[in-house]
Structures are given as structure tokens and as C-alpha cells.
Amino acid sequence: MNLEKVIFGFFIVFAATLNFGFFIGDIDNPVHHDIYELFAAIVVNLIATVLKFGDRTQIGAVHLATSLVADLQLLAAAMVWGYTIHVAGTGLTAGAMSSIVSLSGGALFANVISVVILMAETIMQRR
């Protein structure tokens, strides 16, 4: 067992699970989507991205790309949230909530790809 691999796998799976936890629920119901969960998803995603830095293999490059996509989507979701509350001042409307959740849904898709690559890599190892 390799500690580095454990940490790497932990953060990738954790990013996907947190993302899923935020995404699940009615798309336009603010009660089903907790802001702290979004925050945690963003932080764990960022850490997962940094962990993928500096890998020169083809798989490493795809890993990094999926993480960057997830970061982008989640940060966009957070920005929409901040904008509706503080700039637009309309409060969390059903429309704003559904756009936030759909953005996080995109990030979830990228995270799922990341997990699939991780599993494929593990299966190919045969050790």
C-alpha cells in the first residue's frame, strides 16, 4: 500500500461524493442544497486538482483536465449564488437555485469521469 495513492484516491472520490451530495435533491428547492456542502466540494476539488499537478503521462493529463473542468463549474455555481444574494438582492429564487444546481451537476459529471479514470488505472495495474 502506498500512502500517496491513498491520499490521491481519497481526494478524488471525496470530491465526487461531496459534489453528488450537493447536487441531489429538487433542482429548484434551496432547502435541499446546503451552502456548506458546496463550499466543501469546492475546497476538496481544488486540492484534488493540485494533487494532479506535474504528472507527465497521458492519463495524468486527462485527470488534470477533468479536475479543472469541475473547478470551473463549481466556482461558477458559487459566483451565481453570491451574485443573487448580494448583488441582485433578489434572494435565492427557484430560477437561481436551479442554475446553481445544474452547474454543480456539470461538475459532478467531470468528477465521475475522474473516478472512472482512477478505477481504470487501478484495474490496469494488475498488482
Binding site: F39, I47, L51, G54
Partner: protein, 579 residues
């Protein structure tokens, strides 16, 4: 990481090293922001406890962590919030200090600097859009070669192991920028970065002081760029044999070369002087030597150079006494034990009735000591001195020996002659084997005309790229072109060009040595010229410019440009009609 990694790997190295500090920064940021949203703030107007939203917390912490510090926004904080912020400030300072420390340590890291240098160097080489030579080893010889290449208008790419010498190269004021890399030339990757496989590379010159590295360069050049001429220095006989076994084009052994010079000087002094004059470094003047006398010789130091010299002298039927600490392998030689720096050994070797002495040890101070002592015993001695270090030049100049053997100069002369004028080598071979009367006539004729300064020696091929105007003229089959017609200066009265054709090569014919003025020029001819630098430039103008060629051939200035050509044609027609 070494010079063998690909250039893009620098960025990966940076990213890999930045992983821990970036993660630390993200964690500190996340913990601080999360804490700020949880810590109770002051009560609002209704008495309810306020909390910072994520938006405000991120905003506040962004300017606090970057030490901008706008103050407590959006409202004055509660005591609990201040407590938490104090903690966060110290955390963020630690985070930044750690990140900056890692970045600076990386910037000073030898591997990182090396990776950046390799990347910059290979980019420089890739962007070269003119022909260049790859020089491995920037020692004394390398410096002479680079200087001469620069004067001749060629670029050079240098690989050198010693950092100090690379620094020295940057201080030299060459007219063109010479990319240099501090790396081991024996590694094929380094050679590829330096443009071995580039289509602009014209030749590889291996001059390091390590025979094994030169060998490695030779084989890399043979396998990776078989069409390129490779010039390799080799000092040991087994290296020479090894290089020759896989077909290295030019192997230069300075000792053997000097032995050949010595043999030539003994056999035909005029031919020797002619050779020196033709292969000298550009911008220097040849000093003529006293002719080596015939008689008994004394040789001190029977090493690899001593062996070559003994052979050269014995081939000329001159008796040689050897002074060395160890007996020579061949017992047929007269041998005196000693090191030659004292009078006893010299006397025992018969210095009193000798005509010449060769100081061939590997130690410059000993060599000087030998010849000074020997001259005191016999003032008319002809002295041949081996100089090992260029740094000792002042001492050797002060002594004024008859012959000085400086390996770096011999190698650089030979390299330049081979690289810049490919036709010179066959001509020099002829000079080496010609009889001395012929060489003397030629030498007197040439030096009488051009002086003892090293002349310009260049070769011209009559083809489209090198002589477009002559090529077009010959393609039209108008009239046969003789050498004397072409070799004229494009000024009024068309005086003869200050240059002389030495050799004419034509496919299918034996080489024509010293072609006379009436020699006809045909397409595909290759001609070797010697002359002044001005003659070379004028000839180049004639070969490239159709109008100059016409003027040189007919003495008439032809009009150029559509309008003037049309006017001239009209005038000619009118004159013809009047006649």
C-alpha cells in the same frame, strides 16, 4: 533532472514542487473562510446575531491574507470574530512564507536552473535560421575555431563541460550571438538539443580534451547525422583507430600532424611554407622559419609526440639520440637516460656536434629548460619546442624557437581548412607530394603577388545557387567562357582580379592543378581560388549579378530596369537604321 530531459519538463518540475505549498494555502484559506462564516458576529438592530456570508468572508479574507487590509467590512466585528481573524492572519502568514520559501529555493536549485538553461539553449538553436557549426569543447582550440568561424561569417553552437569556460564565451565579443550550453557533449541528447540533426548544421567539431568524449561525439554524429562532416581530435593511437573503424570523416591528431609538417619541412621547406600560408588563421601573417638542418638530432621526451618526431627525422635519414627516463620500446635507437634539463644527459647525447634538438616532454617548463640549456652548450642549434599550454605563450614567444608545436593551433588550422574550403584538402595533398622546385616557384609567385599575410582561400562551384549569373549565361550556350575573362575587377579598364585559381575539378576528368588563364569554364566545375579578400568579394559580385558579369566580359554597362532597357533598344534600332 539533467540535460537529457525534454524542454517541457521544466513546467512539470515546477508544478510538482509547488504541490505541497499550494495545498497548504488552499487548506488555510478554506479553514479561515469557513470559520468566519460560523463565528457569531455583533447583534443587528433587532438584536439577532449576524454571521458573515461566504461572499463576505471570502472578500474579507482575500484582502487580509494578501496583507492589503481594508479594515472590518461590512460591519465592525464582534470580539469572537476578531479572535478568529487574529488566528487566521498568523496562519496565512505561515502559508505565504512557506510558499515563497519553496519558490525561491526552487529558483536557486541547480537542477531547475539547469533545466531552464537547457530549455533556453534548445530554443535558441531551434530558432537559428542560418548555417552553423556544432563545436564540442570550448578550450584553447575551440576558442580559436569560434573566433575564426565568426570572422568568416559562420555561426557556431558550443557545448562545454566547464562552467567557467562557458562564462568566458559570453564575455567574448563575437559579432554574432553564439548559443552555449554547459553540458557533457558525450551524451547524444545534448547533441540533439545543440542541433546535430538540424538541417542548418554544417558540421560537427569535437575538440574536448578527453578522447572518450570525442569518440562519443564521433559515433553519435555518424549514426544520427551520417551526411554531416565530423572533425574529431584524437591524441591516442587506439582512439584514432577506433574512430576510423566506423568511418569518421576527419580525424585530427595534432602530434601526427606536426610530425607530417616536420617531415615536410625537412623534405621541402617551400612546400611547408606554402602549406602554412594557405592554412593560416585569417588575419595573421606567416613568419618564415629557418630551414631545419640536416645532421644529428637530439630528442628529449619519448612520448607519443616524441615517437612521431623520431619517425619523421629517421625517415629523412637523420640520426636521432633519445633522452628519456625510460628506455624506448625499440632498442635500435640511441638512448641516454635522463630528463634533458641538466647538462650531463645533453652532453652524453652528443649535443656539441648535433644540429637540432626537439623538446617533446609534456611539461612546458621542462621543455623551455631543455632548449635554453642546450643552446648554451651549442648556440647554433635548431630548436623544436612542444608547447602544451596556451597560457605559457609569453615564455615561448620570448625564447624564439625555430619551430613551436602548439596542439591547439595545429588542430584549429586543420579544422578550418577542411570546413570552410573543401577543395583545399586535395590541393594540400598535392603540395605535400610535389617536388620542392615546383613548390618554391608557386610560393614565390603567390607571395610575390599577395604578400605573406594569410590570404583568402575559397572554392566556387559553377551552379545555380553559388554562381547564378554564370550559370544562366552558360545555359544559353552563347560563347565559351575562359577563366581570364571572368577574373577581372568590375571597375573601369577591368584590371585582373587579385586572385589565382589553384585547382579545377570537373566530373569525369582528372583534377587540373593551377589551371591557366585560357582554361574554359563549364557548368558543374569546382574551382579553388586564392587571393585577397577584395578579390573574393568582387568575384562573388560577378558570379551573382548578371549586369556585373556582362560588364566584366564586355566592358559595357548595360542598362537595367524596363524603361532604360526599352530606351536603349530604341536607340540601338535607330542607330542601326541610320547606318
Amino acid at each position: 533532472m539533467d540535460a537529457g530531459s525534454t524542454p517541457t519538463s521544466t513546467i512539470f518540475l515546477v508544478l510538482r514542487r509547488l504541490r505541497p505549498p499550494l495545498i497548504v494555502l488552499i487548506v488555510i484559506f478554506a479553514v479561515s473562510v469557513l470559520g468566519l462564516t460560523l463565528v457569531p458576529g455583533p447583534p443587528d438592530a433587532n438584536g439577532a446575531i449576524q454571521r458573515l456570508s461566504f461572499f463576505h468572508a471570502t472578500y474579507f479574507f482575500s484582502y487580509t491574507a494578501t496583507t492589503i487590509g481594508f479594515g472590518e467590512i461590512p460591519y465592525a466585528f464582534s470580539e469572537q470574530q476578531r479572535l478568529w481573524v487574529t488566528l487566521c492572519i498568523y496562519l496565512s502568514v505561515i502559508g505565504w512564507a512557506y510558499t515563497l520559501g519553496t519558490v525561491f529555493a526552487m529558483l536557486q536549485d541547480k537542477n531547475f536552473l539547469n533545466a531552464v538553461a537547457v530549455q533556453r539553449f534548445s530554443r535558441q538553436v531551434r530558432r537559428l535560421r542560418e548555417h552553423f557549426f556544432l563545436v564540442c569543447g570550448y578550450g584553447e582550440t575551440g576558442r580559436l575555431i569560434c573566433k575564426a568561424l565568426d570572422e568568416l561569417g559562420y555561426r557556431a553552437v558550443v557545448i562545454e563541460l566547464d562552467e567557467a569556460k562557458v562564462g568566458d564565451l559570453e564575455l567574448q565579443s563575437y559579432s554574432a550571438d553564439m548559443p552555449a550550453l554547459c553540458a557533457d557533449a558525450g551524451k547524444p541528447d545534448t547533441l540533439i538539443f545543440a542541433g546535430l540533426t538540424s538541417r542548418y548544421c554544417r558540421g560537427v567539431i569535437a575538440l574536448t580534451n578527453d578522447d572518450n568524449t570525442n569518440l562519443a561525439v564521433a559515433i553519435a554524429a555518424r549514426l544520427l547525422a551520417p551526411a554531416l562532416p565530423a572533425l574529431c581530435r584524437a591524441e591516442h593511437a587506439d582512439t584514432v583507430a577506433n574512430m576510423a573503424s566506423f568511418g569518421t570523416r576527419h580525424i585530427i591528431n595534432p602530434f601526427e600532424k606536426f610530425g607530417e609538417y616536420m617531415a615536410l619541412a625537412l623534405h621541402s621547406p617551400a612546400a611547408y611554407n606554402l602549406l602554412l600560408w594557405l592554412t593560416g588563421l585569417p588575419g595573421t601573417t606567416i613568419t618564415r622559419h629557418r630551414e631545419p638542418p640536416r645532421g644529428k638530432w637530439v630528442l628529449c621526451g619519448y612520448g607519443s609526440f616524441g615517437k612521431v618526431m623520431t619517425e619523421a627525422l629517421e625517415n629523412a635519414d637523420l640520426p636521432v639520440s633519445i633522452i628519456d627516463r625510460a628506455p624506448p620500446a625499440d632498442p635500435a635507437h640511441t638512448w641516454v637516460k635522463g630528463d634533458g634539463t641538466g647538462t650531463e644527459a645533453l652532453r652524453a647525447a652528443g649535443i656539441a656536434d648535433a644540429v637540432g634538438i626537439v623538446a617533446a616532454t609534456g611539461n612546458d617548463v621542462n621543455n623551455l629548460s631543455i632548449v635554453v640549456t642546450a643552446r648554451e652548450l651549442n648556440p647554433r642549434l635548431f630548436t623544436v619546442l612542444r608547447q602544451n599550454q596556451v597560457a605559457n605563450r609569453a615564455l615561448f614567444d620570448a625564447f624564439e624557437s625555430d619551430f613551436a608545436m602548439v596542439p591547439s593551433e595545429i588542430v584549429s588550422h586543420e579544422c578550418l581548412a577542411i570546413l570552410t574550403t573543401p577543395l583545399l584538402a586535395p590541393f594540400l595533398d598535392t603540395v605535400r607530394h610535389a617536388d620542392s622546385a615546383w613548390a618554391k616557384t608557386l610560393l614565390d609567385e603567390l607571395t610575390g603577388r599577395f604578400g605573406w599575410d594569410v590570404p583568402a582561400v575559397w572554392s566556387v562551384a559553377i551552379n545555380l545557387p553559388q554562381a547564378p549569373s554564370v550559370y544562366r549565361m552558360l545555359m544559353r550556350h552563347e560563347q565559351p567562357l575562359r577563366l581570364t575573362d571572368l577574373l577581372r575587377t568590375p571597375v573601369t579598364d577591368r584590371p585582373a582580379l587579385p586572385c589565382r585559381a589553384l585547382l579545377l575539378l570537373r566530373e569525369g576528368d582528372p583534377p587540373r592543378l593551377l589551371p591557366d588563364d585560357e582554361q574554359e569554364i563549364r557548368l558543374g566545375d569546382q574551382i579553388l581560388f586564392v587571393g585577397s579578400e577584395r578579390g573574393r568579394k568582387d568575384l562573388a559580385l560577378t558570379l551573382f549579378n548578371g549586369h556585373t558579369l556582362k560588364f566584366v566580359l564586355t566592358g559595357q554597362d548595360s542598362p537595367s530596369g524596363l524603361v532604360w532597357e526599352w530606351l536603349a533598344a530604341r536607340r540601338q534600332a535607330r542607330e542601326a537604321a541610320r547606318a
